[in-house]
Symmetry: C2
Subunit: 564 residues, 2 copies
């Protein structure tokens, strides 16, 4: 079943819901862009997703990656698709124009990412990691390093990897042991072994630039003794040509539940030559630069797969004849059965709500990275910090639920590989785990963001929404949003005030709290979409408010049970 790029739905967000060009109008970096350009790019991205990426999605899952003697071969067609991806400029969307990037807003990029994740999640991951490496170098490398590495990373000629996790150090990176000893020439010699390295080795790019966390000899224990190093697969000569093979080698690849066409590597470093990026012992702090962007991207994986699953389930529900409808038609298409309608509507509630949040958050990231208005940047930093864990965790939790529902619509046919519905579930599942598990996201939200800021981040979030709500007409849904926001404020205040006396409480409630905030945020965004759609989304919005938003009731009671 061919993917249909939802360009109209996306332009509805860009134009009608968020007025993106106006919203980002004060930013010089974006002054050349207009809605026609955004529309043209989305159209092209949709064609690329449908024409190049989707055709190798299921075959990539069936074949998987191959490993032999340190060499990883991607599935049939991936190399050619990657070449087309590079030629199409898809790696460079948001990158710095000084090094060949297109400098487009993240608020647009999330939509392109969604399409690519819909069409072929495994494929996307290679580029996503390259994007992460690019952002890190843009922010923390010196000019010579940027000149040397950025143009080829931004074009996609070279790819990137992030080497963080070790066997005993996953969520707790403070435990990592990889060592970096200084060489005489200013470089470092790195020894250690990393696991779960996405795109750590593959055959699609000429070189791979690894960003590796390791400890200097004088490093203090724990997370404040970790430094960041650039470790290329092939050393790069001063003229930019590739030199000798570096001592970083893939030891094996993982056999996984899904994303089978994405290589997940054990990377062994034996006297690997690396260069320090950023100050010594500040590697984790450097990482934070890109964390919001990467976490949002991984969240988008959940929406992309949810959208793909929805499109297939919706088509199937309209074609498959089974059972008697309440109007007497028999056999009736599945879509005429109320329980199937409930399933499809639930999927759309999550997909459309999540997509709106992705664009909204993307626009704050754009302000944070590009605006010269200091006050706006301050608000945008807080909003990005607040919304990112919500987006990452809720998009992927809801995406997994959505893909599971889509599979259910297909009945037994959803369980066999042939139809592809089960692959979405398997591919989506990892997004709840990597880039910080969803539990870690929830702790970040409650511990660092809510309690850590003594509620200031929440207040900024509430102010931003309340200011916008003033422009929306009165309605039942608006009343519901206002009531939920006020309940959220009250609940959060209690959590903050009780946290001193109940040190275990924040962890106990974290995941429920994140889901609660996410649903309230979706309610605001559904209201906003409903108003912008002038009647055309009323049924779907109504479904969200009637059937999905009430989950807050159970979450709130569950949280409160740990407060009193």
């Amino acid at each position: 079943m061919q993917y249909q790029a939802p360009v109209d739905d996306m332009m509805f967000l860009v134009r009608d819901v968020f007025s993106l060009t106006k919203r980002l109008g004060h930013i010089a970096d974006f002054s050349d862009f207009d809605e026609d350009l955004y529309h043209a790019i989305l159209e092209e991205a949709g064609k690329f997703a449908t024409g190049v990426l989707q055709p190798i999605n299921r075959s990539g899952d069936e074949e998987g990656c191959h490993f032999e003697d340190g060499v990883v071969t991607t599935p049939k067609g991936f190399k050619e698709a990657y070449q087309a991806y590079v030629e199409g400029g898809w790696q460079s969307i948001t990158a710095d124009p000084n090094y060949g990037g297109q400098g487009l807003p993240k608020a647009l990029h999330v939509l392109i990412e969604e399409m690519f994740y819909s069409a072929n999640t495994s494929f996307c991951l290679y580029g996503s990691l390259t994007g992460g490496a690019t952002q890190l170098l843009q922010a923390h490398a010196d000019d010579a390093t940027k000149e040397k590495y950025l143009p080829n990373l931004i074009s996609g000629k070279w790819s990137g990897s992030m080497c963080l996790t070790e066997a005993h150090a996953g969520s707790d990176l403070g435990l990592l042991k990889t060592k970096a000893e200084p060489n005489d020439d200013g470089s470092y010699s790195i020894e250690g072994s990393k696991i779960f390295i996405t795109g750590g080795e593959h055959d699609m790019s000429e070189n791979i630039i690894h960003l590796v966390l390791a400890r200097l000899p004088d490093a203090p224990a724990g997370p404040k003794g970790i430094s960041l190093f650039l470790v290329p697969k092939f050393l790069v000569n001063d003229d930019g040509s590739l030199g000798e093979r570096n001592g970083i080698v893939c030891g094996s690849i993982e056999h996984k539940m899904g994303i089978k066409a994405s290589s997940t590597c054990v990377m062994n470093m034996d006297n690997a030559k690396g260069w320090l990026i950023g100050p010594p012992h500040r590697g984790l702090a450097c990482m934070f630069t890109m964390m919001n962007l990467e976490r949002l991207s991984i969240g988008i994986q959940g929406i992309g797969l949810g959208e793909m699953s929805y499109q297939q389930a919706n088509t199937y529900a309209n074609e498959r004849l089974q059972g008697k409808a309440t109007d007497g038609e028999a056999p009736a298409p599945l879509i005429k059965h109320g329980d199937v309608q409930r399933m499809l509507n639930t999927m759309e509630s999550f997909n459309k709500g999540g997509r709106a949040l992705g664009v909204w958050l993307g626009s704050y990231l754009d302000v944070a990275f590009h605006s010269e208005d200091k006050e706006a940047v301050k608000v945008a930093d807080v909003m990005s910090a607040w919304l990112t864990p919500i987006a990452k965790a809720y998009f992927t939790d809801a995406g997994y639920e959505t893909c599971t529902i889509g599979q259910q619509v297909f009945g037994g046919h959803g369980y066999v590989r042939e139809w592809g519905m089960e692959q979405h579930v398997r591919d989506c599942r990892i997004a709840q785990i990597y880039e910080g598990t969803n539990g870690i996201q929830a702790l970040d939200l409650v511990g660092r963001k809510l309690i850590g800021s003594k509620g200031e981040f929440l207040d900024t979030f509430l102010s931003e929404i309340n200011a916008d709500l003033e422009s929306l007409p009165a309605s039942d849904h608006k009343d519901k949003v206002i009531r939920h926001l006020s309940e959220l404020k009250e609940l959060s205040t209690t959590i903050i005030s009780k946290s001193a006396d109940k040190p275990d409480m924040p962890q106990l409630i974290a995941c429920d709290y994140l889901h609660y905030v996410a649903l309230v945020t979706y309610a605001y965004l559904w209201l906003k979409m409903e108003v912008a759609a002038k009647g055309e989304l009323d049924d779907k919005s109504d479904f969200f408010f009637k059937r999905v938003l009430p989950r807050t009731l159970g979450l709130k009671a569950s949280i409160e049970s740990e407060l009193y």
Copy 2:
């Protein structure tokens, strides 16, 4: 990680919670059995699960079944394990002693099934289908047919399959097209093709007895024109020896998300010789005989996999050191983090609540099939009819959630195949789909059972619980159960009264209603367990009431939104 058969927890239900020997004491068929026997059987079942079934679970998943020229080969070790299964008498637990069965209660059998599903779900399915065929023949075949087929099915020397689904007829069996033409010798010639046939072909038993739904030449259209036929793989001579190969052949096997060691076959019938079982056109009615038993068994799959996932996650959480605990320990075992405690407690809430419901429902099935007390049978029939869709759907929905949580506890290690956590998720997923999708179960509960009986089934359910509640001491939890039962009654009454004017409503709310009733039922059972455990389950019960039961709030609001 080795499976630990939870024999003590199971005997706690058998002895302390349900007093099974007393509960079934009035039934002559069970008069020879006592608690020591039940305990000994559970111990042996645990050893068999751990020693024989679990060791070939992951290898079976990796290897899968092989198909070539109509022949299905099961993974390495399955044939030998099946032989041991037959020799151990594990196929014959509940079967009729007149044909070699052990005639033990279903309330005990569900616990044995749970262990086997925990250890090796794919393996269990072969026997589960044989059990289904056995029950059908016990109930509907004539004596000669019983003599000819039952002893070898009950021993497991022969296996069984249920051939229902066709490519265009899944949930809606009324659409099936397979034809049966009478032969001169009293047999029928059957033509057609069936899909998704579990155990339709394999290499573990000498013969396979297929029970096939087909239409006679004069059959009316729809579900009332379907008859049931016995179609053996090898014809059986009058002396019981195997005769010629029958015209029912496996055309291919499915490649699936999970249960890969269970063969899922396309079965093609070309002049296949079959014998009518039960009256003409009454095939679906015959099926209903075994449906409650089979649906409960498939529900147990969810609990078995949930329990296995819990055991592994719990062990891992106690061993894996990561992060700082609130008491300062660093690195601390995962179990010291509140969010991990929440995950493990949620898993236990579902596993223990579900196990209790399985035994409770099993005991009603025992009364329904074996008691001579007509009034008791009447109540037990209603209770079985009411609880079965709840058990099937909620055990498996909660089982999928539980396996997903267990995988999450392992972080990235949960996503790679090596640790086995992702296999549980994949193996569990099918249980929400087959044996009637969980949507179909919900429609059965709301449409046929609640509205169809004008609330009588619900009243029986409430009376049974209320009568038992009188014997339980006053407590906060008891008050909560009483309040929820009263809300359930009120909500259900409204659903029934509104259903005439709102024909689409029952479908729209069905799944939410089923989850709502399930949670209220679990609350009653958690209260019962808490009382029986005399303080030892208070923390876990408290978790259920505080953190899981509140989901009813959202479900109730969601349902009510379609009522008014």
